[in-house]
Symmetry: C2
Subunit: 131 residues, 2 copies
Amino acid sequence: MDWLDAIAWNADGLVPVIAQDADDGRVLMMAWMSPQTLETTRRTGEAVYWSRSRQRPWHKGESSGNVQRVRAIELDCDGDTLLLQVEQRGGVACHTGRRSCFYRRLAADGWRITDTVRRDPADMYGEGSDE
Amino acid sequence: MDWLDAIAWNADGLVPVIAQDADDGRVLMMAWMSPQTLETTRRTGEAVYWSRSRQRPWHKGESSGNVQRVRAIELDCDGDTLLLQVEQRGGVACHTGRRSCFYRRLAADGWRITDTVRRDPADMYGEGSDE
């Protein structure tokens, strides 16, 4: 069986992908991959997601330089979720300039921001950037 | 704004939820929550997911005893994914008896099993169990 056939692609032909910092385990983001972008990710060693909003491959870091080097690709028991162990270049995974996209935590009075902005988004993306 | 309104529920009214071991950062599983099960999770402090296959709330560990005590609920930048920091009772999150559902890793020759079975699934679930 082809390794791609072990994956239970959803109705849109995609699979959710969790990216985790391979060094300290911080969960950085969740995105989606198509069979083609997953194959590209494996071949190139850099995370390439499928952008659902733009309906095209999205090479993470193509604009910002914050690429993700992939150390391992893991699959769950149901075959319907992937977990990537990555090295996050620039230390910033989130388009807000924070390390992780998960920077809000539920407190008694609602969502509280827990992480600081490491890099100004205006410096990360040039005009016309699509990331 | 109600804290539940910050979440971008998908077309099915659900949100994907990553469960991570709060102590060592191991990603244990990915599942889904409805507004109701998320509210129950917050209120009770134990993870309650929405079972898409059974179309009903699923109190994780209700059969196996492997409940997840929730230490924190985190939300990503787009508001469309949750990350739970949990204490995994019994040390087993996966229905296969492994610690994590992510127990397969892509190698040159395909998916390789990386984790051992800690608990026999036959001991975890009684007859008629629905977990």
